[in-house]
Symmetry: D2
Subunit: 361 residues, 4 copies
Amino acid sequence: MHKYSLDCIFIPDSINCGRRPLKINVAIIGASGYSGAELIRILSQHRCVTMRKVFANTSAGKRVDEVYPLFQKRIGLTFEQYSVDAVDGVDLVFVALPSGDAMNIVPSLLQKGKRVIDLGGDFRLKEVSLYEKYYKRNHVAKEYLAESVYGLPEVNRELIAKANLIANPGCYPTSALLSLIPVLKHRVISPTHIIIDSLSGVSGAGRNASLGLSFVEVNESVRAYKVGLHQHTPEINSVLEEVTGGEVRLTFVPHLIPISRGIYTTIYAELRDETSEHDTLQVFESYYADAPFVRIMKSGIPEIKNVVNTNYCDIGVRVDLDNRCLIIMSVIDNLVKGAAGQAVQNMNIMFGFPEEEGLLS
Amino acid sequence: MHKYSLDCIFIPDSINCGRRPLKINVAIIGASGYSGAELIRILSQHRCVTMRKVFANTSAGKRVDEVYPLFQKRIGLTFEQYSVDAVDGVDLVFVALPSGDAMNIVPSLLQKGKRVIDLGGDFRLKEVSLYEKYYKRNHVAKEYLAESVYGLPEVNRELIAKANLIANPGCYPTSALLSLIPVLKHRVISPTHIIIDSLSGVSGAGRNASLGLSFVEVNESVRAYKVGLHQHTPEINSVLEEVTGGEVRLTFVPHLIPISRGIYTTIYAELRDETSEHDTLQVFESYYADAPFVRIMKSGIPEIKNVVNTNYCDIGVRVDLDNRCLIIMSVIDNLVKGAAGQAVQNMNIMFGFPEEEGLLS
Amino acid sequence: MHKYSLDCIFIPDSINCGRRPLKINVAIIGASGYSGAELIRILSQHRCVTMRKVFANTSAGKRVDEVYPLFQKRIGLTFEQYSVDAVDGVDLVFVALPSGDAMNIVPSLLQKGKRVIDLGGDFRLKEVSLYEKYYKRNHVAKEYLAESVYGLPEVNRELIAKANLIANPGCYPTSALLSLIPVLKHRVISPTHIIIDSLSGVSGAGRNASLGLSFVEVNESVRAYKVGLHQHTPEINSVLEEVTGGEVRLTFVPHLIPISRGIYTTIYAELRDETSEHDTLQVFESYYADAPFVRIMKSGIPEIKNVVNTNYCDIGVRVDLDNRCLIIMSVIDNLVKGAAGQAVQNMNIMFGFPEEEGLLS
Amino acid sequence: MHKYSLDCIFIPDSINCGRRPLKINVAIIGASGYSGAELIRILSQHRCVTMRKVFANTSAGKRVDEVYPLFQKRIGLTFEQYSVDAVDGVDLVFVALPSGDAMNIVPSLLQKGKRVIDLGGDFRLKEVSLYEKYYKRNHVAKEYLAESVYGLPEVNRELIAKANLIANPGCYPTSALLSLIPVLKHRVISPTHIIIDSLSGVSGAGRNASLGLSFVEVNESVRAYKVGLHQHTPEINSVLEEVTGGEVRLTFVPHLIPISRGIYTTIYAELRDETSEHDTLQVFESYYADAPFVRIMKSGIPEIKNVVNTNYCDIGVRVDLDNRCLIIMSVIDNLVKGAAGQAVQNMNIMFGFPEEEGLLS
């Protein structure tokens, strides 16, 4: 019916310009969870990528559009059983496995010369003791912690470009770190007594059959969970300490709220000196001048609905001078900027693609 | 702190008036599911009932308020392992087990002289072959089918008063039957080509760890299910045939929608003769003149929110004369009028309590 | 059909026992908003009250069940235009008007000898300057501020019993104050640097046609609002200062979340000394030993679903010793314990009724 | 930061190939409603379009990203007051005004030689009397009804390609027509006694401050509305009659359900002859073999979540042979395939762009 395909019109062979390979081959391991499916969705629209393989052991042998009917007519792939040999010919592997599983697989991928983006928590903490305390298991690939790069592009863009192993940030840390780093670096706030109060949509808990995540249990309710014990606490803390070079003390409380996607983080921090909202917003504006996916809200107040299904992190600020308290609010889509979108943003940086490619819609 | 308790004020010993026992003892088997918990909630406020035992094998040994923290300070009972001896001293047993389990337990209860209200489907269908077709198992207590009374008080009030075994109606059948019986009996509509299109909140599927019932899968979506195969189809059909004495033909399609509680049923039926909304509403008004829990909506259109947490069934009507089509809409709370509330209404009738007792709030 | 009514069975004339009038007459002004409707619902089940009049100027002349079809067959009253003469014969008046309107009406009611419970904000702040700053209008009934009693029963039970004018607490303050008073009075936490982060269901914003409250704008989103400017900030602050006798400094940030009812408040405060969760919970347990509507959660974590449609306030606690931070979480139903239910609880205390009457369901 | 933009990489000037203009200029009138905003979102990603003007009288002078903060950093345009002169230089005008407003504006646009896609109802019904009956106003541009083309691409692709005035279908009709046309044309079902039962998300009602659309009124509820009176009834009916060349009789009942986006339509029709699901699905498969945005569900059951934010219409089928009833279920996103997406699909056809351009994400 159509005389020419989108591809032939918009991506002629001549586009390469001698500067980089037009397309890379990628694979996803753990492709049937929510982050994996979001990766499939984003990558299927990415003009510089061919998805070669999608691995998902529990769904192996099923077509992707059988598990996710939303992909009917869109994705022709079939989930496969993973084996290390099956990734031959692939340039980049996304690992979207539960934390604890990735560390068993990543070393062999790196040894085969693959570049890897791990969406889980296994390579985010440089200190093994913190990993073992919060994840409650031994780390079996400690020797790779040193080379892993924390994939927060707004902070580590140069390191990401050269990395072979990216530890893609957690969803809560993404919203918290983007909110805190500019004002900590500019010494607007004190590095102690920081309160991080976060609300998360239910997809953040993954795709599981669980009574606690069932509609009736979650709907019309809210509950805090893992108060003071969440594994993202040391992730936020250690990245902040690395970025600022000093000690940071924070309390982090996540809550589950009845939405599918999105994180709302409200941060309370002590101002070092009197300041204004205008000046604080300027700190953020200038810090993120080159960041395509961070937006400083003109209204001062971000809302989750503005970022759902996008890779943006929106940030707003209020100053409570009476109590010398800076209130920072930020929102992301936990599956996009908090997972799959950020992973693709990292890929774009690693391979010299435009940073927004595949991430505007 | 309080000088006198509610009980001492509102239910003095002298209340009996020689007409009936003031209080009966009841037990619930299968008390930890949603219908069971709703029974506990309603019965705890019922002034003629003492809850003696709550059985729930998977939660046995746990306090009720541990499984359902909403009952903290309200219910001091502990879930127990069921055994037939444990119901000695109980006048009435509510069985809130999944269909298929009740038929193994009910016979021994009846043999011990207990009156029983079964909230599941095991004793609703008089024809064993229908049971075995739709429930996909053999019936092991067929000999009790004849004596069971279908517990729809608006139709069977007299039989219920004398019954020892009540088959409490299904949630969909309750909304469908209350909508159809008056206009079928008064020959307003033809008994064939009846379309029953129902929407149900998620609690109708029970309290299960199931991916298909998880918040993310259900929220912001709708799906039809068991189209033409739902076990409530023969229940609706056979009750209608019994009530009207003739053949009835209907198509029933249930849908899952993202609310916790409530059923919306829209029925399409062929008018035998021209009629008006006013006259049709009159048929309903007069049929339900004595029914405390059926309301004919003045606006013509019922809404789920008006019946949530209540035992009401609200009914509205529209006439499409161009197509000789009567449209009947009805709503209930699936856990109250569609389950636990109707069970208590049946109990009130069985024991001569006021029909509304425990069911107004 | 029923041979005897519930009333004749459960409340015989002889119940009075010479101790108090069996029933009082009440009226509601502003009865058509959400708090007003909730009052109607609760009072209709209250065994010591006769609702004589429901005033609602914009709905005057309409039956209650026309505006709220959920009351069909339950409430036979018609909304009336308010005039001061129309409350003759009434013992108690509930004023459920928007803040700013009550102060124009309450003085004349008090002058007529009526006892009054005002659900709005006009009589909560003793300092006129605070009222005028946060409510942005002049106060026209300042002379009544001194005699008004802040209607938080868990703190002011004795004063409430004798009061003629009750300022019923705001929804956020109810959850915040019940969480903070025990630990401030027992000097568990420091009175400064208190962070109060609250989430509210949408009914808290009242029954209005407003784009910002429309389903599409609120659903699947979250937004903070009135950050640092909310009129409940000085209410919380001044009650805490009155109760503790010292200065209190706090930052309060409310958020709107997509649920109909409920408030989740998470409080962050500095521990004065090392302590344990167990000891802190003991402080709460003993402070609320006699309070029928405060529950200290055994699990440590409250959830909104446990209090929806109830008058309970559930409280949980976590200790973050590393940061000397006490985290207190509390939940209420904003329309019940946060408005109409608490008003009825106050009425019960004022008239010597059992404190729970009408509030268990 | 980026060395080359997406545009320079993916759409080189040489792309034209002499076959068609690379880009057209478009304007949107009524751009601040939900359909307008969705048009802005889609068109901003469309590689063959430049959005020149966005008109919205009530928001004139405001930046698009002030009214819709989700567009911050994405859309630099400002809403303007509409005047016919302001569309000079524009090739195509999208009119996203409420029905009744478009007919005042469209004639002058056509007279200036602009091609027009009207998303409202003013040009969908060929019979003026039907328009005046259901829309309850006079039609002031009757002379353009004859030339308007009903913009359902799966049916009218050739006519659309040449049209100057497209009447973009209503949301309900889109889901109903795509479900019915194949089986009516192939005489699988009888053209009378058709029942169309639809459920719609709240965005279908537009962006209004309305109590009836407020979160609290809609959440956890369902209500039928405009039963038998909805203006989409004659639209569905007359298109079906035009397509089949015979009389069609149908009853249509829409319901409002608590989701933001999406329509679920369940259709009940009488089978002419015995058939199977397999054969019926084949009818659909072959009818839509060339339609990129219609998907016949392998599972037989469509779900709204699979089409949200997409331009797909998913269709499933069940056969109830006992009652000779064909049940067809279809889902769309009311703002995409039911409004803005379908409008862009029409534009793509009108200007020879690939039909999917801008509509895959």
